[in-house]
């Protein structure tokens, strides 16, 4: 009798639990009370144990436990389910509009300093040290120590801003070379970045601009070393497939002097608007340091030789970022800088 009741209880309550869905989830606790409560079915049925014989007791006891476990598990499983669903429902409710803006603002570096940072890293990795010199310079360091005496025709190559007869605003970062050669003991490798000034203003020339000058002094330096070093520098700057080419030129402080053409990073040498169809861009001036310059700075030109190179950071930044107007750099319009993010 009792066994049948238990089986029925298991079956009926089991069905009842199965029928409970999320919308009437509260009835689950009612069932729990109805079955396991002080006056619940199972408690009542357990009390009936007392009237059973010793033989029957274990059998019935085992069944009671089985039914209890069965129902308990069933209820727990449902409860867990509902909890999970409730949690999902809550999270769903807390949904926000992810397209609302953040409160952080982000600025940007000026393209010229980004280029300089990049160049500095490359050059330091090749053993160059970074040095600086004054922007207001003596005529001596800017010209005379670089084999360009007063009234020398080579002074026509650049229109210089003068403060007075002997003091000027430097027209080239090469001025730093002359200073460093006086104080450094060879061998050494340096780069000198900085602002330079020329009395020249149009769509491709700015009266204030930036240059980077490099100088290596050692015992056995040749044009081949210059080629190797500049090839690496240009590859790291413009990409692995970059090539460079030398052309004759003239600078008072180098002999031989060259212009260095770099394969156009835009068209990879095929010819485009950037390179005016030539496939090459004239980007650097360089050469073997004129022995007269070494001697003037107190370096023994019989023992030491060197190479020097220089180029414009503005132009480099223009090529790397497809900027076609040099004036953008100094107007500092946020609409320009915003594109450097």
């Amino acid at each position: 009798m009792l066994l049948e009741d238990l089986e029925k209880l298991k079956h009926d309550i089991g069905n009842e639990i199965d029928k409970i869905d999320y919308s009437i989830r509260k009835s689950l606790s009612e069932i729990r009370v109805k079955v396991f409560g002080k006056a619940g079915y199972l408690t009542t049925l357990s009390k009936g144990m007392r009237d059973l014989s010793a033989d029957e007791r274990p059998k019935v006891g085992a069944l009671i436990n089985k039914v209890r476990n069965f129902l308990e598990e069933k209820i727990s499983a449902k409860e867990k389910d509902f909890e999970q669903q409730e949690l999902l429902e809550r999270l769903e409710k807390e949904k926000i509009d992810i397209t609302e803006p953040s409160r952080e603002k982000i600025g940007a570096a000026h393209p010229i300093s980004s280029v300089l940072d990049k160049l500095t890293d490359i050059c330091v990795s090749m053993g160059f040290s970074v040095v600086e010199g004054p922007e207001i310079e003596t005529d001596y360091y800017n010209f005379e120590a670089l084999n360009t005496p007063k009234n020398h025709p080579a002074r026509d190559m650049q229109d210089t801003f003068f403060i007075n007869d002997n003091i000027l605003v430097r027209s080239q970062t090469s001025a730093v070379q002359a200073r460093e050669m006086e104080v450094r003991k060879p061998p050494f490798k340096i780069i000198c970045p900085g602002k330079t000034y020329r009395n020249d203003s149009d769509s491709t020339h700015s009266p204030v601009f930036h240059q980077l000058e490099g100088l290596v002094i050692d015992e056995n330096i040749s044009m081949a070393d210059l080629k190797a070093m500049l090839t690496i520098l240009m590859k790291r700057l413009y990409g692995e497939d970059t090539t460079i080419r030398f052309r004759p030129s003239f600078f008072p402080f180098t002999e031989p002097s060259i212009e260095v053409d770099v394969s156009c990073p835009n068209c990879h040498g095929k010819g485009c608007q950037t390179c005016k169809g030539t496939g090459m861009l004239e980007l650097l001036g360089a050469g073997i340091v004129n022995p007269k310059v070494l001697e003037m700075s107190g370096i023994d030109s019989k023992k030491y030789r060197g190479f020097a190179f220089g180029f414009g950071l503005d132009r480099t930044a223009m090529i790397l970022n497809s900027i076609n107007n040099i004036r953008y750099f100094y107007r500092n319009d946020i609409r320009f800088l915003n594109q450097m993010k």
Binding site: K105, I106, G107, A109, H110, S113, D117, V124, M126, G127, S129, V130, E132, P134, E135, I136, T138, N151, H152, P153, D156, F161, F162, I163, N164, I167, V169, P187, K189, K195, N199, P207, V208, D218, N220, I221, S222, M223, A224, D225, K227, A228, M229, T231, I232, T243, P248, S249, F250, P252, E255, P256, P291, R305, F329, Y330, N332, I334, R335, L337
Partner: protein
């Protein structure tokens, strides 16, 4: 420097095309910047003869012309020109012609009559009266009747040359001439320079000599050579077409025989010449001397120049006739009436000419050559060539004898080079015979003995002095393409060196990254600014001595900036004016101050960081936070004091001061007057930091103290104090009252209300305490709080709220 293909061809047997020659010149360092084809707009234009003219049946202003084009070809052309006549020889542009003014010729029917082309005016062919007689008239260019009918107009007018515009580097003054470029062409093509015709006729039987016309005194060492010849029976006329064609091609206006000859020799030989009218040389006496102060001259460009002692002049007994090497004077120049001319061929010191040209602001074709250096040997060559042309053109009789005063020797020099050193410099092995061949082709007679190259350098190559110069000559003609496609190893033969970053630039990089993360945009501004900078920023001139440019482009960029604030405020103004808003900007750069005025030594250059913000809701404390975050990257120990910066609001600004009282940074709200000066809003916040000072500080070192195992306990207190009591003072008092239980304390609220009393404020602080050895009890905490309150009451009159 412009030269033409045909002109060069007259001196060298050129067997390559004009384009190939241009490429070769460029590869050797004579950069051909432009190739100009004279005939570019002359194709399909021929010489024709008008054989019949009839009225147009439908149009009063047009006539119908039958035109003989030679070879039996007759065509019909309509024209409105009124200067045509039967028998006139005229330029005829036919279908397909593309004239210089953009007109493209097509057959056309005008009021029922066909026109197969157009007659051209001089202007439509790109020429003027100076070049060709009749080219300047208003109407059709009427050509000489003896021209061959049917021949292309470019031939008839000698407009068929190819012109090169070549960039000559300052070391190659010798290439400022056709002969100079021709020497390069010889070296490039392995050819010999053709003999230049320097012959001229003199009447050997006449007793007349140059001394009868002129005597020369050279009284200045700035004149290295002075040569003069006399020419009688001078006929001033239009030069022949071939000569005009040459001058026209290189951009020089043909004038008359005498002037054209001097210009021709200038271009061809690079030798400036000057022709005097002999009757205007007072006393027949030429004196080359420095000018006397107070002298002046009325020059050919119609300007009068006041002269100084550093100007050299060619004078007669009355006064200056010519500013030597620069420009001639009106009174002594040749005219159409000149009967006897004196021709000067001289060499002057390049510095002297340069200084004079700069000072007087005159630059001529002559001075452009003299200031780069003309070789003394050149004077002789130039004079002989000019006299040859006088004979050839028949424009005068050359008088026997030449005056030649030469104060400077310039002969071939011996330069000895080392083959090994040259190869070491170049980093490539060039065969010795190649070196010898190249140098010989350049006119440098060279022989190799062992490692030595014995070179005889001709006078015009003053730039060649040593192995490095020889190396350059050899490699530029051997070809720089030897370096192409070779992979050299980096610093294969060099010493390994350590690479050091620059301390200040590294710090700037850190700061830059931090500022970008905080929404700031980096600016780079002109360091050249207006001289009004101090006035606009209220900076005292005495302290901020302005460095001024002596030769500025314009007032707005005539001075070195004394403060970055100027750049920042200008950039804000610009951005606001174009509609940009919520601006946060910064810049690294220098501010310049002269040590004394006028500038005698290099000025102070202070490396600064400047920041500026113009944004609604942004305040002093936002900017203070940014500055604190930057300073935290350095080892600076500092305190804040009220700032005295002239361009900041005195109540809303602060200086960051180090332990020695040095001001390292200043920041705050902009002064309202300065805001007005820059036309920017009042609520601009600005900060500047001395980056060099910070970079020079020792690197920040960390020393970590032990951390308590026990939790921090905290209490809040609110006190009412006078407005003048600062949060900073109270925080200092709290810290000292807490003793060694102090962990941290900070302000979390300020409340102001009249109920607190006049000029009072309520400040709420969190006090956080910690003990190394135990958890603090309520009683212990309360004891500390009581101590704090007592101290605040005693020191600051604070009342617990």
């Amino acid at each position: 420097m412009k030269v033409t293909y045909n002109w060069l061809k007259e001196m060298v047997d050129i067997d390559v095309s004009p384009e190939e020659l241009a490429k070769k010149l460029t590869s050797a360092g004579m950069e051909v910047e432009e190739i100009i084809y004279q005939n570019k707009h002359l194709h399909d234009v021929v010489v024709g003869r008008i054989i019949q003219i009839e009225k147009h049946p439908q149009a009063d202003r047009l006539v119908v012309c039958r035109v003989d084009l030679g070879g039996g070809k007759i065509t019909q052309i309509l024209t409105a020109a009124t200067n045509v006549f039967v028998g006139a020889v005229v330029p005829v542009s036919l279908e397909g012609a593309d004239l210089v003014n953009g007109v493209k010729i097509q057959k056309a029917v005008m009021r029922g009559v066909e026109s197969c082309g157009m007659f051209c005016s001089g202007e439509e062919l790109g020429i003027d009266e100076n070049y060709y007689e009749g080219a300047g008239v208003n109407g059709i260019l009427i050509l000489p009747s003896n021209l061959k009918i049917g021949q292309p107009i470019e031939e008839a007018l000698m407009l068929n040359d190819v012109v090169y515009d070549i960039g000559i580097t300052p070391n190659r003054a010798d290439c400022m001439s056709v002969i100079g470029i021709a020497r390069e062409v010889c070296a490039l093509l392995g050819k010999e320079l053709k003999k230049i015709n320097l012959n001229y006729n003199i009447d050997v039987y006449s007793k007349d000599t140059v001394r009868n016309y002129v005597n020369v005194d050279v009284q200045t060492e700035n004149c290295h050579r002075y040569m003069a010849s006399a020419i009688t029976d001078v006929k001033i006329e239009r030069s022949p077409l071939w000569l005009r064609a040459r001058l026209n091609a290189v951009g020089i206006k043909p004038i008359n025989t005498m002037v054209d000859i001097t210009n021709y020799v200038l271009i061809e030989m690079g030798q400036p010449l000057h022709a005097f009218d002999q009757k205007n040389i007072n006393g027949g006496h030429i004196i080359v001397r420095q000018a006397k102060s107070g002298e002046s001259i009325n020059a050919l460009n119609h300007n009068t120049y006041e002269l100084e002692e550093d100007n050299m002049v060619i004078a007669d007994e009355k006064g200056p006739m010519v500013i030597a090497g620069v420009i001639g004077g009106m009174d002594s120049c040749i005219t159409d009436e000149t009967k006897v001319a004196v021709l000067e061929s001289a060499v002057f010191d390049l510095k002297s000419i340069r200084i004079t040209g700069r000072k007087l602001g005159v630059r001529t074709d002559s001075s452009a050559r003299y200031e780069k250096g003309v070789n003394v040997a050149n004077a002789e060559l130039g004079l002989a060539r000019a006299l040859h042309l006088v004979t050839e053109l028949g424009c005068g009789r050359v008088v026997r004898g030449v005056i030649d005063i030469c104060n400077k020797k310039n002969e071939a020099r011996e330069v000895v080079g080392s083959i090994k050193l040259i190869n070491d410099i170049l980093g490539v092995e060039i065969p010795t015979n190649e070196m010898v061949r190249i140098l010989n082709n350049l006119g440098i007679q060279t022989k190799a003995y062992g490692d030595k190259l014995n070179c005889k350098v001709p006078p015009h190559r003053e730039d060649i002095e040593n192995d490095y110069d020889l190396a350059e000559e050899i490699i530029r003609l051997y070809g720089y393409d030897v370096y192409d496609n070779v992979n050299y190893k980096l610093f294969e033969n060099a010493t390994i060196t350590e690479g050091h970053t620059h301390p200040r630039l590294s710090l700037e990089r850190k700061f830059r990254n931090a500022l970008i993360e905080r929404g700031f945009f980096e600016n780079i501004s002109y360091t050249l600014v207006s001289g009004k900078i101090n006035e606009m920023l209220l900076l005292p001139d005495e302290e901020y001595k302005i460095v001024r440019i002596a030769n500025p482009i314009s007032e707005s960029i005539s001075c070195m900036r004394t403060s970055l604030a100027h750049s920042m405020f200008q950039n804000l103004n610009y951005n606001l004016s174009v509609g940009n808003k919520d601006l946060r900007i910064f810049e690294f750069g220098k501010a310049f101050r002269a040590k004394s005025l006028p500038v005698q030594e290099l000025p102070y250059e202070d490396n600064m960081l400047a920041m500026a913000v113009c944004e609604d809701g942004y305040d002093f404390f936002d900017l203070k936070g940014v500055l604190e975050s930057l300073l935290s990257k350095t080892s600076l120990k500092y305190s804040l004091v009220r700032s005295k910066k002239s361009f900041l609001h005195l109540g809303v600004s602060a200086d960051v001061m180090d332990e020695n009282g040095v001001v390292v940074a200043s920041f705050g709200k902009i002064h309202p007057v300065v805001a007005k000066n820059y036309d920017i809003p009042d609520n601009v916040f600005y900060c500047e930091v001395n980056t060099q000072y910070l970079a020079d500080l020792p690197e920040k070192v960390y020393s970590v103290a032990a951390i308590s195992k026990y939790p921090i306990v905290e209490r809040d207190i609110a006190v009412v104090v006078d407005e003048k009591i600062t949060v900073g003072e109270i925080l200092t008092s709290i810290k000292s009252a807490c003793g060694n239980l102090y962990y941290e304390s900070y302000l979390f609220d300020i409340y102001r209300n009249n109920s607190l009393g006049e000029n009072k404020k309520s400040l709420a602080f969190k006090i956080r305490l910690s003990d190394m050895n135990k958890t603090l009890t309520d009683e212990e905490v309360q004891n500390v709080v009581n101590k704090v309150l007592k101290a605040l009451s005693y020191k600051h009159g604070a009342v617990l709220r």
